[in-house]
Symmetry: D2
Subunit: 463 residues, 4 copies
Amino acid sequence: MKDIKNLKIAYIGGGSRGWARNLINDLAKEPLLAGEVALYDIDLEGARMNEKIGNDLSAREDIVGKWNYKVYEKIDDALTGADFVVISILPGTFDEMESDVHTPEKYGIYQPVGDSTGPGGIVRALRCLPMFEEFAIAIKNNCPNAWVINFTNPMTMCVRTLYKVFPEIKAFGCCHEVFGTQKLLAKVLKDTYDLDVPREDIIVNIVGVNHFTFLTEAKYKGMDLFPIYKKYVDEHPEGIGEPIDPDHWANAPFMCTHKVKFDLFKRYGAIAAAGDRHLVEFCPGKWYLKDIDTIRSFGFTLTSVQWRKNDLVNRKKVTLDNYNGKPFELRETGEETVLQIKALLGLGNIVTNVNIPNKGQIENLPIDAVVETNAFFSGDSLKPVHAGKVEPALNALFERIVEEQETVCDAALTGDYEKAFVAFVNNPNVCLGFEDARNLFNEMLENTKKYLPHYDRYLKQLN
Amino acid sequence: MKDIKNLKIAYIGGGSRGWARNLINDLAKEPLLAGEVALYDIDLEGARMNEKIGNDLSAREDIVGKWNYKVYEKIDDALTGADFVVISILPGTFDEMESDVHTPEKYGIYQPVGDSTGPGGIVRALRCLPMFEEFAIAIKNNCPNAWVINFTNPMTMCVRTLYKVFPEIKAFGCCHEVFGTQKLLAKVLKDTYDLDVPREDIIVNIVGVNHFTFLTEAKYKGMDLFPIYKKYVDEHPEGIGEPIDPDHWANAPFMCTHKVKFDLFKRYGAIAAAGDRHLVEFCPGKWYLKDIDTIRSFGFTLTSVQWRKNDLVNRKKVTLDNYNGKPFELRETGEETVLQIKALLGLGNIVTNVNIPNKGQIENLPIDAVVETNAFFSGDSLKPVHAGKVEPALNALFERIVEEQETVCDAALTGDYEKAFVAFVNNPNVCLGFEDARNLFNEMLENTKKYLPHYDRYLKQLN
Amino acid sequence: MKDIKNLKIAYIGGGSRGWARNLINDLAKEPLLAGEVALYDIDLEGARMNEKIGNDLSAREDIVGKWNYKVYEKIDDALTGADFVVISILPGTFDEMESDVHTPEKYGIYQPVGDSTGPGGIVRALRCLPMFEEFAIAIKNNCPNAWVINFTNPMTMCVRTLYKVFPEIKAFGCCHEVFGTQKLLAKVLKDTYDLDVPREDIIVNIVGVNHFTFLTEAKYKGMDLFPIYKKYVDEHPEGIGEPIDPDHWANAPFMCTHKVKFDLFKRYGAIAAAGDRHLVEFCPGKWYLKDIDTIRSFGFTLTSVQWRKNDLVNRKKVTLDNYNGKPFELRETGEETVLQIKALLGLGNIVTNVNIPNKGQIENLPIDAVVETNAFFSGDSLKPVHAGKVEPALNALFERIVEEQETVCDAALTGDYEKAFVAFVNNPNVCLGFEDARNLFNEMLENTKKYLPHYDRYLKQLN
Amino acid sequence: MKDIKNLKIAYIGGGSRGWARNLINDLAKEPLLAGEVALYDIDLEGARMNEKIGNDLSAREDIVGKWNYKVYEKIDDALTGADFVVISILPGTFDEMESDVHTPEKYGIYQPVGDSTGPGGIVRALRCLPMFEEFAIAIKNNCPNAWVINFTNPMTMCVRTLYKVFPEIKAFGCCHEVFGTQKLLAKVLKDTYDLDVPREDIIVNIVGVNHFTFLTEAKYKGMDLFPIYKKYVDEHPEGIGEPIDPDHWANAPFMCTHKVKFDLFKRYGAIAAAGDRHLVEFCPGKWYLKDIDTIRSFGFTLTSVQWRKNDLVNRKKVTLDNYNGKPFELRETGEETVLQIKALLGLGNIVTNVNIPNKGQIENLPIDAVVETNAFFSGDSLKPVHAGKVEPALNALFERIVEEQETVCDAALTGDYEKAFVAFVNNPNVCLGFEDARNLFNEMLENTKKYLPHYDRYLKQLN
């Protein structure tokens, strides 16, 4: 048995001001576990700040979770002997992300997020997946039995890459978008029956790929929520105000009225289970992203990367304040990472949604593609729960994205960017002729070229 | 939502002195639930006794679970509006079972149980499955949305028949054999590390078919129990004494030393998870059932049907005493039925082993065959947990039994007993030439002919 | 054994001036077979003309294939006792087809053919599939063992409907598009090596769905044609002149330069195997159908329905001339129907491409979807030849069309046209916002409403 | 394109007096092909004799097929640049085979052949598969694109090993047993209708594994032969005399009356398609091999290895005579090898039965297991023809043998003979208790130990 007071968690991207702070927060609140958090980041300064912040917090008397935060300059050292590995990185900088998200606007292509699919997601993947290839090799060499938890986007392709490079890896990807939909269903219950229901009590069956997941069942104490949701959708043709707690850094400007979600329900009969900003990116671009008026009419926002840059300044300030002694304020993150870690240590089984390779849990998506469904976490074990077969109309959307992701993973790992262009021009949010698509693709690659190991080869092939 | 204080549980086989008493016992101890238990049995007298016993118990002040027990003479009435259906019947009488178990002894074929596979199991299925066909139709007509819980053997074929006849049925089969193996693993932990571990905390991955299940993983708080079990097996070449509580009526003469289980572990590298008496019946007859000496040397017993008859007299006496006013003594049954019912009502999710159609939870057994694996129970939902791929050597045994069961189900439902003979003579515990096998089969059918709707047709074909 | 001099071929659409004439032609040239051709058509006049033309031809001394052509006014009578059933109908009239093809042009959507997918194909299916439902039932009732050969478009959905309604049907769909690509490869061999190769000697492996098929292998006497094709494609950036014999009525205005085919080869590494006019309809609309300039630049034509109407006048004239005594001129049709019929009668096995349900011949497309691959024809037997696994990038296109077709079939048969709209608006040649798409869909349905059994229900749902 | 007058065929086992002579014979009769046959054999003398015999034959004026036979002492040299590789070896000598076949008789286990399954087949595999591992590596290194044709038994496991070691290999296994069954069906047609039908015109659908194949369809010119066969079987309860031409060396003492085949038809409704001597070895031992009386009553013979030894003396004499100048007499071998080679060279497509990995051609046997079905041979291409789904009762027998073979292949390649024993003791012709089985297994291994690379390890594990 693991010594749960002497664990090692390696954190790749340990200088993060987002997910890393969530983990510091949640570990501090957990009395059962202790050990070391090994911080690794190419942003060494950020890692050092988190090291001090984490250790200051651990030193406080009111804090029950005692951890030693330690920066490692080499990834191998950080990983050696790790029981868990957490990965949350920004592939490149916000400058590259700015290009991913906003360059396509020249061609009338809007992206509220731009990190999972569409032109932005595909180019981000070309930049990001070679990094994940390195991580997979380093994990294989240094801690092959560790559980690896990914938060980085493009989630599906990151997890897929880990498994492609090191098939025996014990990795999964975590995302809180489904939780948000459970909260929405709780709100529906509140509004309909004045019931106060915690989101964990809404039991759902999940199918799809990350950021484009759908609930095919949703129950509260065995009661079918679909007819209730249907009635609610019918009564709210313009969607509703945001039920998600806006205090969370990760959700602030990410409001939506769920009008897209309600619209998809009417079309597909399943409850879309991610924020509307994500959902729209997986649909044909003309549906919800046709133009600014359409976007406004569906009640969701486009998150500009300038906003992210500003927000980062704020977050850096908060971090700096903590670094300089301002006490870290504990809060409810709403994340399940520590719960999952505990389950994998044998401290309480849970069933929750994760992103892992398809072993048949979704009957009619390709085996080994990374999908999002429920899974059963228990001591050193993670098993998908059977999620069923997807209806043809909806599966048309799923299969397209799965094949796009398989193609882009191959392209990124082999360096065959021409193959990535084949996926790019088939993306339904691109909706351009070949010439425009090529110009856009080339401009986007040029803007991120320093992170593209095979860019020269692509240029040569072009000419 | 179901009104959990106003449930209806229909009990087919409601005159039972075994499983029915378990349910009466466990419902009496459960404060959250209440309602009616509708007892149906062709043994009307047994049902009436249980009715009075159950109501007397419910009337006691010290009893927290209040239920109204009521006998129905027609199955349709018993089922109408049921939320749950429990099935535990004896197909035919112990006289027929006596033939199932002991007639083959004339040919040197021994069967410790004789109710799941082998000559006894096959002939029992021919008798039993037409009854299950009727049950499935009655459930479809009267309570198609009820959850159906089966305890009857041959478990796999009974559940398979329910699904063949009414594919939308929400049925599963329950068996406590895996629990016994979890208890054995707890004993191994006790003996090895002096740890006291409840069996529920031994988390296992289960593959196989009922009464021939194997654990391919077993963990306690994330610690792999396989090396510990291996060491224990090596140190106990003659098996060990019985760890299962002998107070339970269902286990009394069913002792085993686990020597078969240990032997199978050395051969297959997986932990067989049923009593040795069951396990041996699925293996080639020459392995553990060659002759009495071999049986003795492996330390398990043959349960004679005469013993069952005597035991029934005792159990009837206990029932009669209760009927006549002797207070029903509550005890720990070790069963999970009420827990499962609660989970299906939304009162606490659980993951435990059940027998349901294969939807890919075992990757390399046929789809729709009934298999035993873990499954996730939540409000009005039951989903298999992925259990993986079986190694070829072990799968040879599983596939054989699956195809035998598919063949016998078809034979029983179509009345083509010649097809059942094809399975019979291929059963590895039969190990006879065609002539002997035919004579045995014919004698066994003759002995149970009053329960065989198509016996005349078979006789005609023979001649 | 069938009496091959006394066969019955039922022809649904027996008044056709296209495929029916092909069959009359090819039967006349085949000395081994004889019998009756039972003509059924709602265009009774057309059928009567073909009856006389066929019988006149049979009566000629120079004709070796002797058949009795006979009109039946009831479909059941035509089918009774048939050994083969041929189906080639026009669902509705060219007026409805005119709406299918040209109404979308208001929204900038061009369709060179408009009968397989895209807005035209989907609406045509809604009109056509209820007719195929009737055919399937009539075949089941009157000649369940007959081999059924379909030529009608939308091919895939027509064949799928036959199997959905009568799963034991022995049906397949025939299409000559692959032959055209074999001829193109023969031309490549001619141009490259000055070899004269008949198209039948180009052995190909085919994957995909009708009108969007690709060759993943192409060999001539074991020589791999892919590198030769690649060089040819590179040397002909603007495509080539049309190699297909323009004398064939079915090909006349259907010219293409293969530039699309060559372009798809560069993207997907597989040889697209249908006319460019078909291929482009399965791709995102912006690729090859963006606007008239793009279409011209890719060197294929849009076939206007007015052209079809004019052509029909010509064909009717030819028919009328024949009817009035002008001798029917025999020619090479290039079709394989009679060869296939002979193979199914045991007169020479062949392997050729057909449209039948997927039994795993394409490993990663859904089971039971209708796909186009090679199949082995022998006496009363048709078995698919294994075609392999499709690469992800290409499979993205295949899966989309398969799910579209599954969805539209369901919609047509259940009358849930809202479901058809879900497929319609997801079609990549639609590329419209919801409002435009809805207006277009409604206008198209309105134009074909007399063939839509559930149109009223749709209108009610709309409001 | 291959230069078909300048081919290289490498022959591993080129000193063979059986299959090699067949090939020499058939090449001599084929006018289209020419080139070199590279003979490699550890029996160098045999190879040298075949070299001279082959060259003498080629030199004859009456011979149309001109080949240069050449002995190579190193396998790599023989394989370099080969277009085709033929493998027909005897693994070990007839002394080892004598042990394989006759040692089990001490335990009442009879084996008519003993080279495919059962104790003999399993032990032969342990000896043979490491040799095939070497062949696969040599082929990969020297002629990775060659087509590899195997005749060696255990056929299935030999081919499986080639693919396990070199997954891209283009290998298949050939067996004439199905031809014999086609001839039997031709005889049925002759006897029933006085029709003279060549066996090639009996079109069959084949499922199973080599030497235990079944026809699920058999047609002559589209006429279903099943009812005719059924009648014939009913009329011949004692089987019939041997229709196979006894002049063929490979068939001489291998007579059977087909009574086993007829018996299996009555049980399974499918036409067993191998000699009875083979078929019985895949069934439970008590069925047809219980004792000498049973064997006699079913009308087949046990082929003693002493007979094989005597026969080899005769065959050696024939070879020596040829070597010394006696003209090689051409005959009809009945083999299809040269036809298959021609098809793979693009000289005439054929569909015939072969042993290749399952790609879904048998829907419900494991993917990648080697199975026997029809396949389509064309220029440089071999594709399985879909053969369908096997009925449960029959599939029970197939799955068992497939899993045995998978287990034994693993055991042979990894050297884990204990795993082979697990398969051995589960073989239904073994039918022994563990102790007897172990003694038999050990004795058999001891007798063949010089061909067992991991024998020492096994002995160590035992103690």
